[in-house]
């Protein structure tokens, strides 16, 4: 990345801008970010953060006099499957987890409509209408999983409408 940035600067302006690369163990941890970056950032005007949006904001908040630039367009918090070279969004941090009742498959995140009592009519052959029937229908996955585990009574349970205060941002936790 450092090389790429240097190249870009040279190609565009050739003004000999100084760059330096550093790794922060966890950019979302304010203490760690500050401790590892403070000795380095002094002589630089800008920080290009390769973290997700949380890391970028932590850095921006920790070094208010620096220009902090996000290197990524954060899409989602997901799981990586190295074999397939893909990332999957699995959790929306909704604050009302029902994963036990849904066989460890999150309908809030993995159902295109976030249905609580699915599937809907957009399901066909186990695939979802969102994106043109390529992705799995979460509710068919849930049904199959619960059936395997002999837990279909959980499928039958009516999930009442959620309390959206649980996911009302900006959320805070801890302290006091």
């Amino acid at each position: 990345m450092k090389i790429l940035v240097e190249m870009a600067i040279k190609l565009k302006q050739n003004r000999g801008i100084k760059t330096k690369a550093a790794t922060v163990l966890r950019q979302c941890d304010r203490q760690i970010a500050v401790t590892s970056l403070r000795p380095i950032v002094e002589e630089y005007a800008a920080i290009l953060s390769l973290a997700c949006g949380v890391g970028v904001q932590t850095i921006a908040q920790s070094f208010e006099n620096k220009l902090v630039i996000p290197a990524n367009n954060t899409k989602f918090i997901g799981m990586q499957d190295r074999e397939l070279g893909k990332f999957y969004e699995l959790c929306s941090a909704c604050g009302e987890c029902i994963l036990f009742e849904t066989g460890g498959i999150c309908p809030i995140t993995r159902c295109g409509k976030s249905l609580l009592n699915g599937p809907c009519g957009g399901q066909a052959l186990g695939k979802c209408e969102v994106g043109g029937w390529k992705k799995d229908c979460a509710w068919v996955l849930i049904y199959n999983r619960l059936k395997e585990k002999n837990m279909l009574h959980y499928f039958m349970r009516f999930q009442e409408p959620r309390d959206f205060r649980m996911r009302q941002g900006p959320r805070e936790m801890g302290g006091e």
Partner: protein, 308 residues
């Protein structure tokens, strides 16, 4: 069966009459002339007509006003379709209250096709409630006179609530359990999605017989060969028997548009006849958007009298 009957639709079903309903689609216009004309075409042939709510996620005129207008102007009872895709529980509650005032008697509770398949694909999908949640809200309003949060409603509305069923869903088991869950909450009738295979409809009726809920089987005549091709190509899960497809294509070659219409009348006339004769279905919901005049012809071909 509901304890009390509020609507002509429910009355027809409860009295055991083989019941027909139609469908009217308001579009992207401020003019209701066509909706009224369509209602006139259907009136006297169907007991009630569904008014669609932004079908396939296209932004059209809302379904409440046309529901009211066909009742007032034409005297045709409406089934007010409501999807949860575009409105949160506040807006749904508020529209249901307005519907109560406007004399709406039937509501079909749906989730709605996803925004991404519609004509404003970048829209934010709401889905604060799902279709089961909307059913639950309506039950609370009608049966308990409260909203979802338990707040009291003065002069609560009286609606019958229908739910949709994907009768040809594959796999069908989760769909059946979903319907069963809705029935436990309180469903007045089921209306299925379009069936093209009479055996699929029969299988569904058999699989849901134990639920003891009146069921209207949905049919959607195919207006043209491009429409047929589109259904076959882009709507997985909808099984259109090869035989019917061939019949439509042959008809088109021989006699063009008119022959296609006639083939629909033949096919669905027979379909309706067989459902009536061999199943416990409460009736048929006919979706013939853009050629509603075919509805009475299908009913007639089935050897049935329109409403009486």
């Amino acid at each position: 069966m509901p304890k009390q009957v509020y609507s002509e639709l429910m009355k027809s079903i409860v009295e055991g009459k083989f019941t027909f309903t139609g469908e009217i689609e308001p579009v992207k216009t401020t003019d209701l002339h066509e909706v009224i004309e369509t209602a006139k075409t259907l009136n006297g042939h169907v007991v009630a007509a569904n008014i669609t709510d932004n079908p396939t996620a296209f932004a059209y005129m809302n379904s409440l006003i046309p529901s009211y207008v066909i009742q007032r102007e034409v005297g045709l009872e409406a089934v007010y379709q409501m999807v949860t895709r575009d409105r949160n529980r506040l807006a749904l509650t508020s529209d249901l209250l307005a519907a109560g005032y406007l004399g709406i008697k039937n509501v079909l509770a749906l989730s709605g096709d996803h925004t991404t398949v519609g004509d404003n694909p970048g829209a934010k999908p709401v889905f604060d409630l799902d279709s089961t949640g909307l059913l639950y809200l309506i039950r609370k309003m009608v049966d308990e006179g409260v909203d979802l949060a338990g707040n009291k409603i003065d002069n609560p509305p009286k609606f019958h609530v229908g739910v949709a069923a994907a009768l040809g869903a594959d796999p069908i088991e989760p769909e059946l359990l979903k319907i069963e869950r809705k029935v436990k909450i309180g469903v007045d009738y089921i209306q299925t999605q379009a069936a093209y295979d009479v055996d699929v409809a029969k299988r569904f009726l058999k699989l849901t017989k134990h639920l003891d809920v009146p069921t209207l089987i949905g049919i959607a005549p195919l207006k043209s060969i491009p429409m047929l091709d589109w259904m076959v190509k882009f709507v997985p899960g909808i099984v259109i028997p090869k035989d019917f497809q061939d019949r439509l294509r042959k008809a088109k070659e021989k006699g063009g548009k008119e022959a296609i219409f006639q083939e629909n009348v033949e096919f669905f006339g027979e379909f309706v006849k067989e459902i009536k004769a061999t199943t416990h279905a409460a009736g048929i919901h006919i979706m013939a958007i853009g050629f509603e005049w075919i509805v009475p012809k299908i009913i007639e071909r089935a050897g049935l009298k329109a409403i009486g």
